[in-house]
């Protein structure tokens, strides 16, 4: 595949459609700057700051955009909040739509057939694959990203984090917690 892709890049750059120097910059940005730490920052701020939480849930595009990320968010980012009664999960059954701006590039499992096929019909089974068990009466709310709206989960703040700074709270926020296939770390998990 490496040779085939190199051939394709040769053709496209010889024809002037792409500039290899620009490609280098794009790759570098995704490898170093654009990742789940951006989303974690937004979640931690929402946990620490009730006004920001309201803004995030009302208009995540605006709220996340105000944090000044490297990658500006698209026009329709939606944050959905977990509660003791409701757990949210994000999927794209038709391709692999994912909130790149806040979570970076999606992991292989998110793009895989097992996840895309089962997240909508057997979300508890999928959660079990991740070692996550929720109370049997918790509503499981699955968001299938079938258009250009993008979703991120605002997980519940772990107990025992009263008085923590946003920076410290952000260390508890995992990528999977913002997809809904995981839960934030507990304080004793990062000690």
């Amino acid at each position: 595949m490496q040779l085939r892709v190199r051939a394709l890049e040769t053709i496209l750059s010889e024809k002037g459609y792409v500039d290899p120097a620009a490609l280098d910059r794009i790759i570098e940005a995704y490898e170093t700057r654009i990742g789940p730490h951006n989303g974690a920052r937004a979640v931690a701020k929402a946990w620490a700051d009730p006004d920001f939480r309201q803004r995030l849930l009302a208009n995540a595009t605006e709220a996340v955009g105000s944090l000044g990320h490297v990658s500006r968010v698209g026009d329709h980012l939606v944050a959905v909040e977990n509660t003791p009664k409701r757990h949210n999960m994000i999927v794209c059954t038709l391709c692999s739509c994912y909130p790149w701006e806040v979570l970076g590039l999606p992991p292989v499992w998110y793009k895989s057939a097992p996840y895309r096929s089962r997240a909508v019909s057997d979300p508890r089974g999928v959660l079990a694959d991740f070692g996550v068990t929720l109370p049997p009466d918790t509503e499981i709310r699955v968001w299938d990203s079938t258009a250009e709206t993008r979703f991120m989960v605002l997980p519940m703040r772990p107990a025992g984090t009263e008085g923590w700074s946003e920076e410290r709270l952000a260390t508890l926020v995992t990528r999977n917690a913002m997809i809904g296939t995981g839960l934030p770390k507990r304080p004793d998990e990062i000690a």
Binding site: V5, A7, D19, L23
Partner: protein, 218 residues
């Protein structure tokens, strides 16, 4: 198109297997494919819907048998051939053999801000939304042979309008060359038992993002 890409509810793919400490790219060529796709989209040669349609048009065994970025590369080759930007003999030779076709713009290293920003798909509405918050709607039983974003597993089922997401570029129109034809977009939520039967998990609710032409009042 009722292709294998429309996976919601299918059986037989096995367990989800997360990879510990997964790298951003598993090989350098994956990053080149991602970056080329972003740069080609920047030229205006095609949009995101057309690249999805190209991947969905791959033979089913190819779609299922290749990795994510290989699928991107194969889809991009198809988009390039369809738009006449590259010809088959060039792909074989691995070099440009014919003059380039003009494109609107080429991304330079200083332009990459645009490559890192998602495209804007919201559009000004051309009329009022037909459905309202809380309304019961049925996903139409449509089976177009061209690209659509209404998954099979909700077709024919009744759900509730939970959010009205504004007016957006209509993928079904873009891919057949009928322009953006912006349509109202709704979050429609379905009860899991309506989708998967009485024996299924009663705590599950699933929503899709549905364009107005996909829906009818229930």
């Amino acid at each position: 198109m009722n292709g294998v890409h429309d996976m919601g509810g299918m059986h037989g793919f096995g367990k989800v297997e997360p990879e510990p400490n997964e790298p951003v790219f598993h090989a350098p060529w994956e990053g080149r494919v991602l970056a080329m796709q972003r740069a080609m989209t920047y030229t205006g040669a095609w949009n995101i819907d057309m690249s999805r349609a190209a991947q969905e048009g791959l033979p089913a065994h190819v779609y299922l048998g290749v990795s994510y970025y290989k699928r991107w590369a194969l889809g991009m080759e198809q988009n390039l051939l369809q738009k006449g930007l590259v010809s088959a003999d060039e792909l074989t030779a691995g070099h440009a053999l014919h003059p380039a076709k003009p494109v609107k713009r080429t991304m330079r290293a200083d332009d990459i801000g645009a490559a890192l920003t998602r495209g804007q798909y919201g559009r000004l509405p051309e009329g009022p939304a037909r459905f309202t918050f809380g309304q019961r709607v049925r996903a139409k039983n449509i089976n177009p042979t061209t690209h659509t974003r209404l998954p099979r597993y909700v077709r024919g089922h009744v759900g509730t309008i939970e959010r009205i997401q504004g007016c957006h570029v209509f993928p079904d129109a873009v891919v057949i060359g009928a322009g953006e034809n912006p349509q109202w977009l709704y979050t429609v939520v379905f009860d899991g038992r309506d989708l998967w039967g009485e024996g299924s998990d009663p705590t599950v609710k699933v929503s899709v993002e549905a364009f107005e032409p996909y829906l009818e009042a229930a």
